[in-house]
């Protein structure tokens, strides 16, 4: 099972990323746990300045922008 983290402090873009990721996970039946991380100290353990950030299995994949569903689906293959 994959662990997907969405790092963001509650901004609109972070919420958009969260819903896109959840839609992709549901549509593609991805075996994954989706975790929203809002605590700045926890976010900064990944040393990223711009949110939202998509972390898949502890690897930072996308930062500072909202990805398309296709992009997320490709990352989760």
């Amino acid at each position: 099972m994959k662990t997907i983290k969405i790092l963001g402090t509650g901004c609109p873009k972070c919420k958009q990323m969260e819903s896109i990721v959840k839609e992709v996970v549901a549509e593609h039946n991805v075996d994954a746990e989706v975790i929203k991380v809002e605590d700045i100290m926890e976010i900064m353990q990944y040393n990223v300045m711009s949110t939202p950030v998509l972390v898949i299995d502890e690897e930072v994949t996308i930062k500072g922008r909202v990805p398309s569903k296709t992009e997320v689906a490709d990352l989760l293959k």
């Binding site: 509650g10 901004c11 100290m41 900064m44 040393n47 300045m49 711009s50």
Partner: protein, 130 residues
């Protein structure tokens, strides 16, 4: 990771009087609208921070400041992660600084009533600072 040290605008103002440097992480358009009127301030927008963080001195007290204290907190952690030990964050940012009536240059209307709805904003908490 150790939690970042955070201070309120009143404490920040005292530190500035003692020679501390403010590092403002707001974007250039925000700074041109309204800025901190203090003797020692440098500007490194968050969007350029990863490329320019090494400009932040290590040999003097540094207070990171922003609009509401959230982005400057990120910048504080970023510097701590890169070995800076002399950095603290100013909570509540320029918005609270203005509310306190502390010195600024520009149009204070630029931040008044704008503590909600912004990207990564601190929300609408209204607790009073020291």
């Amino acid at each position: 990771m150790k939690p970042a040290k955070e201070i309120c605008p009143t404490t920040t103002k005292g530190k500035v009087a003692e020679g501390a440097l403010l590092v403002d992480v707001r974007e250039n358009d925000e700074v041109s609208e309204l800025s901190f009127d203090v003797p020692n301030v440098m500007y490194i927008p968050l969007s350029e921070f990863e490329e320019r963080y090494e400009e932040v001195p290590k040999d003097k007290e540094v207070v990171l400041v922003g609009k509401n204290g959230m982005n400057s907190l990120k910048a504080t952690y970023f510097l701590m992660n890169h070995g800076w030990t002399n950095v603290v964050n100013m909570q509540h940012g320029l918005i609270r600084w203005v509310e306190k009536g502390f010195p600024t240059k520009g149009n204070v209307a630029a931040v008044q009533g704008k503590d909600t709805g912004s990207c990564c904003g601190a929300g609408s908490e209204t607790s009073s600072c020291c």
